[in-house]
Symmetry: C2
Subunit: 738 residues, 2 copies
């Protein structure tokens, strides 16, 4: 019964592959009763080992570390750019072969009159591509599904989604996104780039791959959550940068989603990674296109050239922008609501990998059919010019020397379709056909997001926006762009970063004001109905995601009410047996344990003197760092920080560590390994104050103490995440207990 949703969309199939039973209950909403994902520790454990290492390090040593950080960021940017380039070329080649084959077939059957055969060919080709992608995702690495943006948001927020930054995930993601875009689904290849960049960053910065069992013995210093997060921020930024040619937008994305603490050097490094990434992509694409050194395509997406003379907007156009923003907000909310119900349906009924693959193939076939119908029923012909830029002009029923103009938009990858919608001359599309298309594509896109394929939602959103923009008779490409922005903003609800991303993607700063205006309106209007798409999916996983601030009306809640209590505390010198028992206790899986000076017999709480993590205890147990009872000689093996770093991040479970009965009687001295100065708050601290501390410092555990510094409780991320503002004021969510 447990773990349904988690398995289906994110972490997928662990050891319990066969147990995927549908979760049926009578409630209105699906209740998720499952393990909460682990959390990350962005507050450094400053134990004695760490402090000693830092003290030994010279000023020069810190400078070398800094240089190494820059090198890593450069590498992250380079590899992310390379991956983006690979995806782009692969998609172009595969889609090219596909459209070439279908075009030949159509040309053949236009004369003969058996166009349904062409349709079937198209649909089968699409389904085949999608099948490969879906099989890889569903059977090999389910976490590679979707755009990966919600997962990266969670990671940067401090929630550890299992396997989200592994090499295998990256491979499946890249393969999956190539298949789904080549398979003609209503998806983009931009969102997955963000996830890819993050995986690259997590891999490169650790200097090893646990999947490949290869340790390069470099960058060992960076094997901890704090450093890793910084690099993952850079990777995500590099991904955005490669996807949209938007280095500044990438930095802002990372900051908006992840970095709660802004640091100038870090930001500058992230920017460097972004710049290198877009530069690498640009450079290799220029070689591929046979014009080496001509750096003209900074991102995967290309909106085409906007003539800068018609960019100028006038004062009276501002209400128009606001109206479009509102419309985008409403349509985006509609998109999100339908997708929400669909996702719940999927969680309940479509959780077997086979079913998931079949659904994806069905969507692929339907998408081909809709596109085919669009082209078939359009009878708008344009003359074939010499400077024809169309790659696959379809003649169909047009006279010789002419081609079907509708095909320029829909016999193409979604990105090229967006460009056609922006730039095609007035009168290209029949309003009725366009209306039908907008509607059909809207529902196709809703249906597609959440399929078990790697795919992004940016491009389809832009396409829908541009389509309804054109439907309303808007032909100026700057205004069409704002329509597209409105639709995208209504769905994802990103703010500053999205503005900058779109401005950078178009290459013209003048669009800033209208884009900001529509995005702001879309967000305000959309938020009235439902949250953004990513937030919905994060919420459906019920992970302990921390928002920016505590709910405004939560001042009356104090740490006393919020904290978990009683807390399992350990003594400074603790019996091995007790530690093993505490760690093995499956009913209460704690990850951090306050260390107290002494726990007295009469259950009185002890005075706090440190905090130790489960992962640290496991390493200690594994290395058998025991002091024999009643033995004065120092039998304790000297453990080094290196031992902890080697075990990071995949610490073995407690069950895998064998502790003999004799050893259980030994003692363990935690003094050297615990964090001697954990952050503490008194019991009367208000929730917003606790929240601010958590968010600003990236905490995982916060010890609540009484007046005499005795441990009375422990606040963890999930204690804070369960409060949110609902319709009737403050509500408490039912997050699963770990």
């Amino acid at each position: 019964m447990a773990n349904i949703a988690k398995k289906v969309s994110w972490s997928g199939r662990g050891d319990d592959r066969g147990e995927r039973t549908p979760l049926l209950n009578g409630d209105e909403e699906v209740k998720y009763n499952r393990q909460v994902p682990d959390t990350l520790d962005y507050d450094n454990s400053e134990n004695q080992l760490f402090l000693e290492e830092e003290r030994r390090m010279s000023h020069m040593g810190f400078r070398c570390l800094e240089i190494r950080r820059w090198v890593i960021c450069g590498l992250i940017g380079f590899l992310t750019g390379l991956i983006a380039c690979m995806i782009d070329i692969a998609v172009e080649k595969l889609a090219g072969y596909k459209y070439f084959a279908v075009k030949l077939n159509i040309e053949k059957y236009t004369e003969l009159g058996g166009l349904s055969i062409s349709l079937i060919l198209w649909a089968v080709l699409n389904s085949a591509f999608v099948m490969f992608g879906a099989i890889a995702v569903a059977f090999v690495e389910p976490i590679a599904a979707g755009s990966g943006i919600p997962q990266i948001k969670c990671f940067l927020n401090g929630v550890k989604i299992p396997r989200v930054v592994r090499l295998k995930t990256l491979v499946i993601k890249v393969f999956g996104v190539i298949c789904s875009v080549a398979g003609g689904l209503a998806v983009g290849k931009e969102g997955p780039m963000i996830h890819s960049g993050a995986v690259v960053a997590a891999g490169v910065s650790q200097g090893r791959s646990t999947s490949l069992k290869k340790d390069f013995k470099i960058f060992e210093y960076f094997r901890r959550d704090t450093e890793k997060r910084d690099f993952v921020s850079a990777g995500a930024a590099a991904g955005v940068s490669a996807a949209f040619g938007a280095p500044v937008g990438g930095v802002l994305f990372s900051l908006e989603e992840g970095a709660s603490f802004w640091n100038q050097m870090l930001t500058w490094r992230i920017f460097f990674a972004s710049m290198v990434s877009t530069f690498t992509l640009n450079f290799f694409l220029s070689i591929y296109h046979g014009k080496p050194g001509e750096l003209s395509s900074p991102g995967l997406i290309n909106f085409g050239r906007f003539d800068s003379d018609i960019v100028q907007y006038n004062l009276y156009e501002i209400p128009l922008f606001i109206i479009m923003g509102a419309l985008g907000g409403v349509l985006g909310a509609l998109f999100n609501i339908i997708n929400y119900w669909l996702t719940i349906f999927r969680i309940r009924y479509i959780h077997r990998p086979c079913l998931q693959v079949m659904e994806a193939m069905l969507v692929a076939a339907v998408t081909a059919t809709v596109s085919f119908a669009m082209i078939y029923f359009s009878n708008d012909c344009q003359p074939l010019g010499q400077d024809n830029t169309e790659e696959y002009p379809l003649q169909l029923f047009c006279a010789d020397g002419e081609y079907n103009s509708m095909a320029t938009a829909f016999f193409n990858t979604p990105e090229r379709s967006v460009r056609s919608l922006f730039h095609n001359p007035p009168g290209t599309y029949n309003p009725v056909t366009l209306g039908v298309f907008t509607l059909a594509y809207f529902f196709l896109a809703v249906w597609t997001y959440g399929l078990t394929v790697s795919a992004g939602v940016f491009i389809p959103s832009l396409l829908i926006g541009a389509a309804w923009g054109r439907l309303f008779g808007i032909l100026l490409c700057i205004v069409l762009l704002t329509c597209a922005a409105a639709q995208l903003g209504g769905i994802v609800r990103m703010t500053l970063s999205l503005t900058v991303i779109l401005v950078e993607a178009t290459g013209n700063v003048t669009y800033g004001f209208p884009i900001m205006l529509v995005l702001m309106t879309a967000k305000i209007v959309g938020d009235y109905f439902i949250e953004g798409l990513y937030d919905i999916h994060i919420k459906l996983q019920s992970v302990p995601f921390l928002h920016w601030d505590a709910p405004p009306t939560s001042h009356w809640l104090t740490a006393r009410e919020v904290m978990s209590s009683p807390v399992t505390c350990l003594n400074r010198v603790e019996k091995v047996g007790r530690i093993v028992d505490v760690l093995s206790n499956t009913s209460t899986i704690h990850n951090g344990f306050p260390v107290v000076a002494h726990t007295s017999e009469n259950d009185e709480p002890g005075i706090i003197c440190g905090l130790i993590l489960r992962s640290q205890l496991i390493v200690l147990l594994k290395h058998k760092v025991f002091v024999e009872r009643a033995s004065s000689r120092l039998s304790q093996r000297k453990l080094q920080l290196k031992d902890f770093r080697d075990a990071y991040p995949r610490f073995p479970p407690i069950q895998s560590i064998h502790v003999s009965q004799d050893e259980r009687e030994c003692m363990m001295d935690l003094t050297e390994f615990m964090n001697p100065t954990p952050y503490t708050v008194p019991q009367e601290t208000s929730l917003p104050r606790v929240f601010k501390l958590f968010r600003a410092l990236g905490l995982r555990h916060l010890v609540v103490v009484d007046n005499e510094n005795r441990v009375v409780g422990l606040v963890t991320r999930k204690d804070l995440a369960r409060y949110h503002v609902g319709k009737d004021g403050l509500e408490e969510l039912h997050l699963a207990q770990t």
Copy 2:
């Protein structure tokens, strides 16, 4: 002896105007022994009054507050844009009259042969303008001198520079900057806009002006440091946005300098203020230029149109960018070093307002002379075309129908000169003249920055960069732009925000990569020699400015070593006499006092139970919130949060409050007013950890406690600011004791 530097450049003339004796001592460096400016409290004091108010507030109430915040940000943007517009028009008009008069005079005397009279006229006009500006700054409000960027950096960092955000400062600043730009100094009007925006924000958000003694009784909720800082961030961003037409750059500037904690809604509001500001400026300028609604000049600065076809850069140009960046770094460092010595000279010898005004007038006259010489010795004539865009073509010794091309660059405001340097055709300038000019202008600009006039350093830096770029035979305007960027970056060392500002000012995203490259190189090279200009000036004031991180090698320092001790603690119920004595003690001016459960007689520290601020105590004393000793009836007047807000931010000094001998025997109950949950750390906490807490939460006081929660010390901002990395590792600065 005390207060020299502070008086001279920043806070100026208090009551002790006559005491400005030069500070002469035998040390290599000037030592500043003076009062440290007050600090701001960005950690909210969550006392009972505050919590009660928050609890009373409904969800709707919070929403109204949020809407009010948006309205204020809109107002800030609007007013900042309006001020920018006013400055622009005033400068254009005044400079126009001046150049017109000089041109007529030159034309007259070119024939007659008495051009020295023209030179004298020009120099006198310049000096006159500058005199008015300098008198206003030197005698009325010295803090309005310079660009104001270091002061705003300090404010956002948490250092309270006196009178920095007052209305009077704004008026003098605006008047001063008009005078200095119209007076032909080597200054820009962009930097002061940032200060102006910040003052507007601080004024509008408080809903009153203490200078004008006008209280609009609105926005009372925002009368505290936390809220005010957020608005000042928005104001600074709006200022950048108006100055450079760079709304995103403005947001990044504010974040880079100020906001240690990134909040999505706050960022979005700041962006809104920026957008409104550039839009307002644009709109009013379009009306002024007679083309209402044509929004084509987003900022004060205008680099002219860059043809987008020649924007493309090639791979082999990258080493060129790096070389230029390095050169910019070296020249920028040279600029900073000379300016540093000059500033020290000024602090020692030029501290009387009269001298300051005279120096400013001298510089104005010299600037005019240099420009005149440039034009006089150039004999490069260009034909007057029909599409002539020059406003004041000087014929001088050219044939009829021709004009002196050197005058297009130097018979003009610095901004127009930058544009001429970027866009004038090859061969316009004689290399020797250009070389002499570059050198002369470099030293003029160094000399000018730090004068007692309101003036920015952005434009002169860009001008110097463009000049040496042209000198090296670079003619492509994109490359010239990067030269200019390199010089500017070498001087101010801003990173991401400057990149974005310059990209937005040119209007073309493609410049991003080269600009980033040169700025990064310039920063790395420049930092090797000396800090950035703003940091130098901040350091010369020895204010407790907190950088991003603790010095890297400071892990061996603990809170125990860093903290101030012993601490003056107050009891929960304290005798009025003692409070008055503590506050009146001039030898140790503390601003925050831990409140303890009981201070025992034998000097044993008490258990912490709260923290109360000097300002709160003063309000309590002023309202005589006393409990009569041995009296059970509640004579304590019910004080409200409103009383504290009314007193904010100019709390009266303790000397102004009269407490009678009888009242001294009364008691004061602090329970309701103290912050009951101040942040505390144990004594063993390392400096980086304390630093992170301070920086992330914007703290002013951090209580250090022992194992039993007894107060043993207090860490304040200056305890942290005094450690920095010098040549031989960690050094301790001698900051004055407050």
